[in-house]
């Protein structure tokens, strides 16, 4: 059972206080998008063994969403950060690089 620190309220919350929200930094494709774009948005998710970015909600807590960067294999947590961003902030990327040099995730590295 994971512990993730909610950046909104500062609590190191265990998993039973949290709800998972799947892959982070999705780009929403609405009306006007191609079938391919829409398929990618809805169905084609990253499923890496290693560095991954996820959305979580502190549902049994402050109720707020946040992002987490972690390793899906070792469960190392590189950091948690605001949900109000379209890409991982530099300090999170730096923390990942320190632990996993040369990492890549979608277009991020």
């Amino acid at each position: 059972m994971l512990i993730l620190t909610c950046p909104n309220c500062g609590i190191a919350a265990e998993e039973t206080e949290l709800s998972p929200g799947g892959e982070a930094h999705l780009h929403r494709h609405g009306p006007g998008s191609s079938d391919g774009e829409f398929e990618e948005y809805l169905f084609l998710k990253e499923n890496p063994r290693g560095v991954h970015f996820e959305r979580w909600r502190h549902s049994h807590g402050c109720g707020k969403w946040f992002h987490a960067a972690r390793d899906t294999a070792t469960l190392q947590v590189f950091g948690t950060y605001s949900a109000q961003t379209t890409e991982p902030p530099q300090h999170i990327r730096d923390a990942i690089t320190a632990a996993r040099p040369g990492w890549r995730w979608r277009d991020f590295s």
């Binding site: 994971l2 929403r28 079938d35 948005y41 190392q76 949900a83």
Partner: protein, 997 residues
């Protein structure tokens, strides 16, 4: 026969007696006895029978690793099978019975299996019972089920209480031996929060039995001082009878604490499951002695050497007058010396090693004990009890050189560190050639959230079998765990030990006949010959061999057998032990109760039950309830002599004729407010909501991004920048969560705040032709058609209560939904009932609600929808805005399959004979599909008896349904398909005049 010696027994209180029964016979022991030690004291060596061959078995071990001595413990609500006699402490009135025997422990019919043992090898069941298939179901499986299994399953409801406790500590230390105590002292001095748990009822572990010395003191004295010092530290929590069961991700540790299992008084909390979050975990769980594999090593009276020493030193148990020791190491000589010092006879120590000249063997020789090196036990004589051993050369094939008469055999095959807690989260092991065991590889620990190791083994669990080494290791572990200087380690002293010689088969050239009597897994009756057979049959993976032979799959989870079995497998495969590897260590270390896992989630606190403010009134009326999400809602209010079916019909007819009252408080209510609120509700709903006028209501649909309908409800505009969104009863939390998700993660620059105010308001439906009269009688608000028309709302005071009244209808009748602050809801409810009496008001429940909405052709989320239905399927195109560029689900609904003209669409269904269609029935179509199943063209989504129409009505989704009005469909493919006509789904008041009333 075993017996109690007149002297000694450090744990027992001879001044007091404890009386208990085993298989109906009364035994007596002392406080401090376990069930096993007390039975041994009473001469009861046979305590159970094995699983497959029903061989008589006695306790082979002293603790949780015991595979044989399992009993059914207790009675009725406190009955528990598979309880280890070795860890169950006795109390007055304890009732135990042996397991896996019929009709009695001494004479067991299943033991006939033993005669056919050579026909029941590894994989026997797989090979034998696979054909014919029918025989498996009707013959073999029932037979196996009857003969298999250990204890009985309890029948009565658990009479005890359990709880969880969440603890957050810096360091958990598992194991209260001298290593664990030393680690706790060092960690405690750092000021960190420390939790030290010991699975048994006593501190000190092996050192106090084996007579080590620490800092110049007797181990027992040092332990007492250490416990006292720890007790005085406010930052240290100590627990005995608390087993660290498992280590999970991110420092999560489960500790199972037994509070009353050892007491006669069972009134208190029985067990507590500690859910611990630990920064660092120190595993000081010690090591377990391994049996030796010689023929007859399972005969009652054969025991691990250390266990025999424990029974002797702790409980003054004599295993018999004459005990032969068989070993491959020096430690077992401690047992020889202890027995000798107790005045018992050790006819010989049979040491497989060519030379035994360590301190302990020399002390044994000096005591006059005969020590034979290079010797093996060829075979144990005796069936239900040891009568002697045949002795041969260890390097030989089993020729008998000599027979030694004895009552007991103490065996030692070396020690295996207890690495479970290290391994649960992926800590890796190295094979230690010198000590012939797996020990933790410090380079490959289980990794925590910070990417570093979070578990460390210390002491014997780290392969440090000597007291001094173990304590020093433990103190170093404390420094690691706390990040603080741990100071100087206490100095431990014990006898010097010579090298062990790995022995996996005794004698090493034993033939097949002997190998078929060498037990590896006692409980599951897996022998050396079975593992070798598996290897011959091609099982190379240890995980496969385990499942094929059932080695290590018993309730002891292979604590004694795994390493021996692995070594035999590696020998048969001609591979090195580390190449073959171990099976996976999985929690729990020792099985524990379902009650502890459930904790307080039992009886009245099993799960939350959401109740409205009118709940007690419903109960007083004798309502039948149904669950809606976590809510309970009245299904109907049957009167005396009425069936529920009757009462539902009455409620409907009365509501349609007079007036009904409905507790609608469970309806979800969400406030959406802000400068961008209109834009936001337009995204959340398929309809246009931003242009709703203040004071008006509009029915709205919510979809997910795939376009599927997920919720519906009436939206009211409260003010220029505020909307109130009603949701389904079960959907409020989800809808609110969804809204917040979009606002927080997609449109965070939009100025919108939401609040889930579902529970702030009670909501009361006043429904039926007389509804207005009731409200007028209550007074205070103008509820006329002109002032408050259909799909409008108004705020005011009704009979003195502050309310919002919504003119909305889910029944097709003239209907007012009245929202009132929940604390006043019951008061208003009572007032409405009183006012309504003269107008024929009766309450109605959810079933009447459902039938009435179906009569009107209104859809119900969860009936007409199932996560694959889009609003267009339900004829709800009128509620889907064509003006909006975007809303959640719009793009999804444009997908090819969603616009397919062949989609199943909503229609009404009328059976020819007026009967009620079966729920969920499919309309068949000609031909079969690719899987040979009958083709279908539709299904029933809602079906009821309509008392209003006096016939069955149904709604369903049918291929091109709306284009096929009047066609007949057949439902069900059996002998008697039900025929039904496709009709308009609105069965009642098609013009909608009543609700507009």
């Amino acid at each position: 026969m075993s017996t109690r010696l007149a002297q000694g027994g450090r744990l027992i209180d001879r001044s007091r007696q404890v009386s208990f029964t085993f298989d109906g016979k009364t035994f007596r022991g002392h406080p401090g006895d376990t069930l096993a030690s007390a039975l041994l004291a009473g001469g009861q060596v046979v305590m159970g029978r094995s699983f497959k061959y029903h061989r008589p078995r006695g306790a082979v071990a002293y603790g949780v690793e015991e595979p044989n001595a399992l009993v059914n413990l207790g009675e009725e609500g406190r009955f528990e099978p598979d309880t280890r006699a070795t860890t169950q402490e006795i109390f007055d009135g304890l009732v135990a019975e042996s397991q896996n025997r019929w009709p009695s422990l001494d004479w067991d019919i299943g033991a006939v299996n033993s005669l056919f043992a050579r026909f029941l090898p590894a994989g026997f069941y797989y090979k034998m019972f696979i054909h014919p298939r029918a025989a498996w179901k009707h013959l073999f499986e029932p037979f196996i089920r009857r003969s298999a299994g250990l204890g009985r399953a309890p029948r009565a409801r658990d009479a005890d209480r359990y709880e969880h406790f969440y603890a957050h500590v810096d360091v958990v230390i598992a194991g209260g031996g001298v290593a664990g105590l030393a680690a706790a002292l060092a960690a405690g001095r750092s000021g960190k929060r420390v939790l030290l748990v010991e699975q048994s009822g006593h501190w000190g572990g092996r050192a106090v039995v084996d007579g080590a010395r620490i800092d110049g003191k007797e181990a027992a004295d040092w332990v007492a001082d250490a416990v006292a010092a720890l007790d005085a530290m406010p930052n240290v929590t100590l627990r005995t009878r608390a087993m660290a069961a498992g280590v999970y991700d991110h420092g999560y540790v489960l500790v199972h604490e037994r509070l009353t299992d050892h007491l006669a008084d069972k009134s208190g909390l029985r067990q507590r499951l500690w859910r611990v979050r630990a920064g660092r975990i120190i595993n000081a769980a010690g090591a377990l002695e391994r049996p030796l594999s010689f023929a007859g090593n399972d005969v009652p009276g054969v025991m691990l050497a250390s266990a025999m020493r424990d029974y002797l030193v702790n409980h003054a148990i004599s295993p018999g007058d004459r005990t032969v020791i068989v070993t491959n190491n020096d430690d077992a000589y401690r047992t020889a010396l202890a027995l000798h010092e107790a005045g018992l006879i050790v006819p010989a120590v049979l040491d497989a090693r060519p030379v035994a000249d360590g301190e302990l063997p020399e002390r044994a020789r000096a005591a006059g004990i005969r020590v034979e090196t290079g010797r093996a036990v060829v075979r144990v004589k005796g069936r239900s009890h040891v009568t002697g051993v045949e002795v041969g050369l260890h390097v030989g094939e089993g020729s008998v050189l000599e027979e030694i008469a004895c009552d007991a055999v103490a065996m030692s095959g070396g020690w295996s560190p207890v690495v479970h807690l290290w391994s649960h989260c992926g800590g890796k092991l190295n094979w230690d050639e010198a000590q012939a065991h797996f020990r933790p590889d410090p380079e490959r620990p289980p990794l925590g959230a910070d990417g570093t190791g979070f578990v460390r083994c210390v002491g014997a669990s780290n392969g440090h079998l000597r007291t001094g080494d173990g304590i020093a290791d433990a103190v170093a572990g404390a420094a690691w765990a706390t990040g603080a200087d741990a100071g100087k380690a206490p100095a431990g002293e014990d006898a010097d030990e010579g090298a062990l010689m790995p022995v996996w088969l005794m004698p090493q050239g034993a033939g097949v006949k002997l190998r078929a009597k060498m037990w590896l897994d006692y409980q599951n009756d897996v022998k050396v010959s079975d593992v070798q057979l598996a290897a011959r049959e091609g099982y190379e993976s240890v995980e496969h061999t385990k499942r094929y032979t059932t080695l290590g799959m018993a309730t002891d989870q292979g604590k004694l057998s795994n390493i021996n079995g692995l070594a035999v497998l590696s020998g048969a495969l001609n591979a090195a032990i580390p190449q073959v590897g171990t099976t996976t260590f999985r929690p729990p270390y020792v099985p524990y109760t379902l009650g502890a896992i459930a904790g307080s989630a039992a009886r009245e606190t099993f799960m939350p039950l959401r109740k409205t403010q009118m709940d007690s009134w419903h109960v007083e009326q004798g309502a039948e309830f149904e669950p809606v999400g976590l809510w309970r809602r009245p299904y109907s209010y049957p009167r005396l002599g009425e069936t529920v079916k009757d009462s539902v019909a009455r409620e409907i007819l009365n509501t349609r004729k007079n007036v009904g009252i409905l507790d609608a408080s469970t309806l979800g209510k969400i406030i959406v407010k802000g400068p961008d609120a209109g834009r936001f509700v337009d995204m959340m709903y398929t309809n246009m909501m931003s242009n709703l006028a203040v004071g008006r209501c509009r029915y709205g649909l919510m979809c997910n991004e795939q376009g599927f309908l997920v919720d519906d409800g009436v939206v009211a505009r409260l003010s220029e920048d505020t909307w109130l969104c009603h949701t389904t009863s079960g959907g409020a939390d989800n809808v609110h969560a969804q809204m917040e998700e979009w606002l927080q993660t997609e449109w965070w620059d939009w100025q919108v705040y939401t609040a889930n105010v579902t529970e702030q308001w009670g909501q009361i439906g006043v429904v039926g032709p007389n509804a207005r009269k009731v409200l007028e009688k209550l007074g205070g608000m103008d509820v006329s058609k002109e002032t408050l028309p259909f799909m409008h709302w108004a705020e005011g005071e009704l009979a003195g209560f502050p309310v919002r009244i919504f003119r909305i209808s889910f029944s097709g009748e003239l209907s007012y939904e009245i929202a009132v602050p929940a604390g006043q809801a019951r008061g208003l409810w009572d007032a409405i009932l009183a006012a309504g009496a003269e107008f024929g008001m009766q309450p109605y429940g959810t079933e009447a609600l459902h039938v009435m909405r179906a009569e009107k052709g209104f859809i119900m989320i969860g009936d007409e929808t199932d996560g694959t239905v889009i609003p267009q399927d339900l004829g709800l195109n009128w509620a889907i805005s064509k003006k909006k560029d975007d809303f959640i689900g719009k793009r999804g609904q444009q997908r090819e399959h969603m616009v397919d003209p062949l989609r199943w669409k909503l229609v009404g269904l009328e059976t020819e004979d007026g009967s009620v269609l079966p729920e969920g029935a499919y309309a068949v179509a000609p031909g079969d599909n690719a899987n040979g199943q009958r083709n279908v063209q539709g299904r029933v989504t809602s079906t009821y008896h309509s008392p209003t129409l006096g016939r069955g009505i149904a709604m369903g989704l049918v291929e091109r349904g709306p284009d096929r009005m009047g066609e007949m469909l057949e439902f069900g493919a059996g002998a008697d398909p039900v025929r039904a006509k496709i009709v308009d789904p609105v069965f009642y008041d098609k013009a909608g005049e009543k609700q507009d009333g």
